[in-house]
Structure formats: C-alpha cells, structure tokens
C-alpha cells in the first residue's frame, strides 16, 4: 500500500472516530448552549478560543508556504502551492467554527462582516478573515487554472498569483498579528498586555503551519521525482527548524522577563504555568513533545523525510498546548481580590479545565478540518502538477 493510501485510510478513520466521539458534544452545544462548558464569567475564554488561534495560526503558516511557491518562486515547494492553499482553507474553516461556537449568538456574527466596530481588534478580525477567506479561494482558483492553461494566458495568471501572493503577506501579518492584538490590547490582563504577543503569535503561526505542512506534503506528496521530494522535505525541515529556534528564543525572552523579578501579575502566572496544577501542559506536551523531540528529529544527520514529517506533526499538534497556555493563564488572576468568593457559583470561579463537552466539540472540529481537506483534495485537481511550470 502506498503512503498516500495509508494516509487516506488513517485520516478517514480519524475523521469518523473524532466525528463520532465529538458528536455528542456538538449536540450538547446546540441543545444547551454554553451550560456544560467549564469556562465561566471570570475565565470567559477557554479551549475553543485556544483552538481557534491554534487553527488560524496553522492556516497562516500554510499560507506562507504558498507565498514561497508563488511569490518567491522557491523551487523546493514549487508543486505544493495548491495543497498549501487547501490546508489554509481547511484550517481557516475549523478556526471559524471554533470561534463561532464560542459565541453566545453565532448568527449575529455575520453582521460584523459589513458592520464591524473598527475600534475593536476583534471587529477588525471579522473584516480580515472575510478578506482572507476570499483571497484564499481566489488564489486556489487561479493556482488550479494556471495549470490548466498554457502560453500567454498562463503567464498572466501567474502574474495574478504573484500579486495575490504579495497581498496575502500583509494580510497574514494583519490577521494573525491582529489576533495577538486581541489579547495584547487588554490592559486588564498583564500576562497578555504588551507589544510582544502579536510577534509571538506570528512566529508561532509560521512555525506550526509550516510544520503541519511538512507532514501533509510527506503523506500526500505531489507528482515529483524522488530527488524533488527529498529536496522539498529537507527545505520544509530546515524552515521548520529555523522557525522552531526563533519561536523558542521568543519564548525564552517571555519566560525570562515574566519570571526574573516576578514582575507584577505575570510572575505569579508563569509560576502557575511552570509549576502549577497543569505543569505538564508546558513541560511535557509543549517542551518535550513539541520542542525537544522535533528538535532531535530535525537535527538528526539522516535527514529522513519521515522524521521531518513526524517532527512537523508533533509541533503542529502540540501547538494547541502553547495556545492554551497563552489564553487561559491570562485570566487566572482576579481583578479584585476576593471577587470569586463574593458571589459563589460554578461560572464565577478562577479555575478552568476544559469540560468533556468542550473536548468533544474540539475533536469534532478537527474531524471537520480533516474532512474539508480530504474532500477538497479529492474534488479539486490539487495533484495535477505535471503540467509545465513557468
């Protein structure tokens, strides 16, 4: 059985498994709204918001691969541009479902597209995501079209793709840096507040999205020779490694500044992240699975494509832990001491661990993301890369 076939079967099993497992959670969400979630009014954002920034980050990272293909003409990723668009679209859809389900009135959110409050970073998100979604679809359309045409027409489509690619660079910076801004602008939360967060968000997005793409390209490799394939995987591996190092430098800076003098508010939060109840999220899920093992795999002498793909999967998957550690700890400190015991209720606490229903919904969303990718891959001519490249 080819790798691709095995990948297909495995992913479809995961889609069905996650979908079936997640369905009760989805039904609960639609029947009872937010009642069975573990977040409340003092920790208002939880797993779904973390999943949203995780997925939107993956999307932004995948988009950057397509930019490398169409704007920078990087040889190694010449044939995977369309697949990068598809990954970006699938993860964007997942991110939108995740944030949509988190809203109290999801349907009203559509009105934001034409009527946003542009003083609000979140208002901007509505505009930017719409622009991003349209851009991705148009780019994918032209990327497919490009290979179905020849001569002058192909040249002009290529030019369009370059223009769209250039446009998507500031767009990606805006919408993902913007998500960082959604958090960084909140003066009330010292752990979030500051100019560093949008940068950290961007670095993380490019890292996790690039890493995920290494896995995807490994399993569903395009029509390429063995050398081309190796070249592509090594390029993706090197990019991922560079981004991983950059991301870790930024993280180190954050931990250092946050803990060195136990800066107001932040020191205590870092204490909680590193040595609190959920210490394993940082040390095991993030540092061991998401950083050290991939680092080992990516720096190994053998440069095996399988190892690069595995490293990519570990980084991309465990990045949810990074996002969770950005979102939830920020809200751990009461704004006023004693507020949690002033009026006692399960939705008025400063303790959070996602409920079973929240995990189920997340699994369902992941199943949807994979299904969008698999169906897109099947119905769209993603693999027709045999045509002449310009």
């Amino acid at each position: 059985m080819t790798r691709e076939k095995m990948g297909n079967i495995l992913v479809w099993i995961l889609i069905i498994g996650f979908g079936a497992w997640g369905l009760p959670g989805m039904l609960d969400r639609f029947a009872n709204g937010h009642v069975d979630t573990a977040y409340g009014s003092y920790i208002p954002w939880g797993l779904w918001i973390s999943a949203y920034i995780w997925l939107i980050g993956l999307s932004a990272g995948a988009l950057m691969i397509s930019v490398m293909t169409y704007v920078f003409n990087i040889e190694a990723v010449k044939k995977v541009g369309k697949m990068a668009f598809l990954v970006a679209i699938a993860t964007l859809v997942g991110a939108m479902i995740s944030v949509g389900l988190d809203l109290g009135h999801p349907l009203r959110a559509f009105s934001l597209i034409l009527n946003p409050n542009l003083h609000s970073m979140m208002g901007w998100m509505a505009v930017l995501y719409s622009a991003y979604f349209v851009t991705l679809c148009v780019e994918l359309y032209f990327a497919i079209k490009k290979e179905q045409t020849r001569g002058e027409k192909q040249k002009s489509i290529k030019r369009i793709l370059v223009v769209l690619g250039i446009w998507s660079i500031p767009l990606a910076f805006a919408f993902h840096g913007g998500v960082g801004g959604v958090f960084a602008n909140v003066i009330a939360k010292p752990y979030w507040h500051g100019p560093m967060l949008p940068v950290v968000f961007l670095a993380g997005a490019f890292l996790s999205g690039g890493a995920l793409f290494a896995t995807v390209a490994y399993i569903w490799r395009p029509n390429q020779s063995k050398e081309e394939f190796l070249k592509m995987m090594i390029f993706l591996g090197k990019t991922t490694l560079a981004l991983l190092i950059l991301d870790e430098i930024l993280e180190l800076a954050e931990v250092y500044v946050g803990t060195f003098y136990s800066a107001y508010g932040e020191g205590h939060i870092w204490q909680e992240i590193l040595f609190g109840q959920y210490w394993y999220t940082f040390w095991i899920v993030h540092l061991l699975i998401g950083v050290l093992i991939p680092l080992f795999l990516l720096t190994a002498k053998s440069k095996s494509p399988g190892a690069i793909a595995l490293a990519g999967l570990l980084i991309a998957g465990s990045f949810l832990a990074v996002r969770l550690n950005i979102v939830t700890p920020g809200m751990l400190d009461p704004e006023l001491n004693g507020i949690a015991s002033a009026w006692v209720h399960s939705k008025l606490t400063f303790i959070y661990f996602p409920s079973v229903m929240e995990w189920q919904v997340l699994l369902f969303i992941v199943a949807v993301v994979m299904a969008v990718f698999m169906i897109g891959k099947k119905v769209l001519p993603i693999y027709q890369t045999a045509g002449e490249e310009l």
Partner: protein, 318 residues
C-alpha cells in the same frame, strides 16, 4: 399637555428624524466600504458615526419623566428622600447635562448582601450572573485582623475599557455616564468580560435556578410554579426581556446599569433603597447641590484602581 412636555415631544421628533437619516447614512457608508480593507481610512470613520448615533439614542427622552410629589423637605429626613429630589432635578435637565454617580460608604456597609440579592431580584438575574457582589475580605494576621466589605457594582467608567473592544458596538457610554449593553446586538464574544478591570461583567449562560429541581407537583411546589421567577421579564434598558431559549439576554454579556428603568421613573437604584446600612448613595454628580456631589468632595472619597485611568463613576468612602 404642558408646554414643557410639548417641547420634549417635538425634541423627540427631531431626534428621530435626525436618527433615521444618520442611520441611513451610516448603513450606506458601511455597506459600501465596510468590507474593503483597502478603504480602511474611510471605514475607520464608520464606528465613530455609529457611536454618535448610539449616543443620540436617548432612552430617557423616549419615556418623558413625569415628576411625582415628594413630602416636603424636613430637617433630619432620610437620605433616600433627598436623593429622590436630586434625581427629579436631574431628570428635568437634558440627558447630556447629567452624570449619574454612586458613592458607597465602606464604613457603613455591614456586608449583608441585601443589595446583591435585591439587584438579582430586580433584574431577574439567573444563576451565575451577578451585578453587584459584595467582596468580603479579612486583612492582616491574627490577632491584628480587620474585615473589609466592598460592594462592587459596574463602575460606569468614564473611560470604559469594555466599550472600544466590543466588535459589535453593542456596548457604549451613554451621555448620562451609564455604560449600556444592547442585548439584541451583542454577539456574546465575552471580550468585554476580559477587558473590564473590575470583573464587573458576567455572561448569561442560560442557566436556571430550577435546573435540577424535582418535578413532582403533588408532593412539592412543582417545577413550573417554583420556576415562575425564571420566566418573569426583566426591564433592563427600558425594554421587556423575557427569558426563553436562546433569546437575549441569554448568551449576552450583562452588567449593572444603575437600574436605568428605575431612574428614568425617578426612583433610586434597587441597591440604594435596600441597603440596610444606608451605605450606598446615588445621584447627579453634575449637580453641585446633590448629596453625591457633597460626598464625592470628601477628602476620604476614592475610586478603585484610579491609576489605570478608567475614571469610574463609583466612589468609595473609607
């Protein structure tokens, strides 16, 4: 109809016409430019217009205040009567000339929670939603301990961090100082909950007190009767809100609004009248003769987290 009432009605009419024109222009501009990121500069103007429109939407003017007779002023009368007179005076002024303020005397608060409970009853608050919890804290270490009780309504900040973050423009600062929420517009993103430096906003999760109540009408009161409270309408922001599945205010951010519908009728906020220690005062801070103005001027009056620049409308006395 008195001359004054007539002029108020005509004022209303002008407001309405201006309103619809502004609304049309606003919608038109946003419809055309809203989706264009490139046209960002133009779009940036749009929320400003919308804000102006909201500020003009004067809930008080729409239900003209009918003053009622209060007993003549007497020496040593209850502060409640004086504050009611203060409110009546304020309501005769145009909305933008009043500024509602609250003063809480921490020396008098006994931490009985009467204000929290009466507020919940007045606004028909479901479980998990609270507008005015009373924080109780012990300070110091034994044997040198003290006890603080601090009621915490929404501060109705003059620079409210919860307002600009709202992506849907569902929350805004009224000209009389109250920070309002439009439940019909709020998408329930809870950004404002995070932005508030006082934890003053809570989310309506759609819970009910009778959620796990046994339903055996013959034996107990029965779920339906016991749950009558849950279906009673609240009248926040001068509108009837009946709780039914998924309908606002379920799924919305909620917060103290200084009892807007009560003040419009010349009544004091519920927490003020039910405070057993007479520790909470309310009135027009723009009126130098009001009781709150006198109290705010005291040297021991302070505001919470003054240093972050939110300029709360709630003062404390210690």
């Amino acid at each position: 109809m008195s001359k004054e009432e007539l002029s108020r009605v005509s004022e209303n009419l002008t407001l309405e016409t201006d309103e619809s024109r502004r609304e049309f222009l606003d919608k038109f501009t946003k419809g055309v430019f809203g989706g264009l990121v490139v046209g960002g500069v133009v779009s940036v103007l749009a929320p400003v217009q919308a804000k102006a429109q909201k500020e003009g939407s004067n809930l008080n003017e729409s239900t003209p205040f009918k003053p009622f007779v209060l007993p003549p002023e007497q020496p040593g009368e209850d502060a409640i009567l004086r504050m009611m007179r203060d409110i009546q005076r304020a309501l005769k002024k145009p909305i933008e000339q009043r500024h509602w303020n609250m003063v809480i005397d921490l020396r008098k608060c006994v931490g009985c929670d009467a204000c929290s409970v009466s507020c919940a009853a007045e606004n028909k608050l479901p479980p998990g939603v609270i507008y005015r919890p009373v924080i109780q804290q012990e300070i110091g270490s034994y044997p040198n301990v003290g006890h603080i009780t601090l009621p915490r309504p929404c501060m109705q900040c003059d620079e409210p961090p919860c307002v600009p973050v709202c992506p849907a423009e569902a929350t805004w600062k009224r000209p009389d100082g109250i920070v309002a929420v439009d439940y019909d517009q709020c998408i329930g993103c809870r950004y404002c909950l995070n932005a508030c430096p006082y934890n003053a906003r809570t989310f309506d999760f759609g819970m009910e007190y009778i959620d796990d109540t046994a339903d055996a009408p013959q034996v107990f009161l029965g779920k339906e009767k016991a749950g009558k409270y849950e279906t009673e309408a609240s009248y926040e922001y001068a509108k009837e809100w009946k709780r039914k599945e998924d309908a606002s205010p379920i799924g919305n951010a909620r917060k103290c609004h200084f009892c807007v519908p009560r003040i419009e009728k010349g009544m004091l906020p519920e927490c003020v009248v039910t405070c057993i220690g007479r520790a909470t005062y309310f009135g027009d801070g723009n009126d130098p003769d009001s009781l709150v103005s006198e109290l705010i001027a005291l040297p021991n009056a302070f505001r919470l987290k003054e240093e972050i620049g939110t300029r709360p409308s709630v003062y404390y006395i210690k």
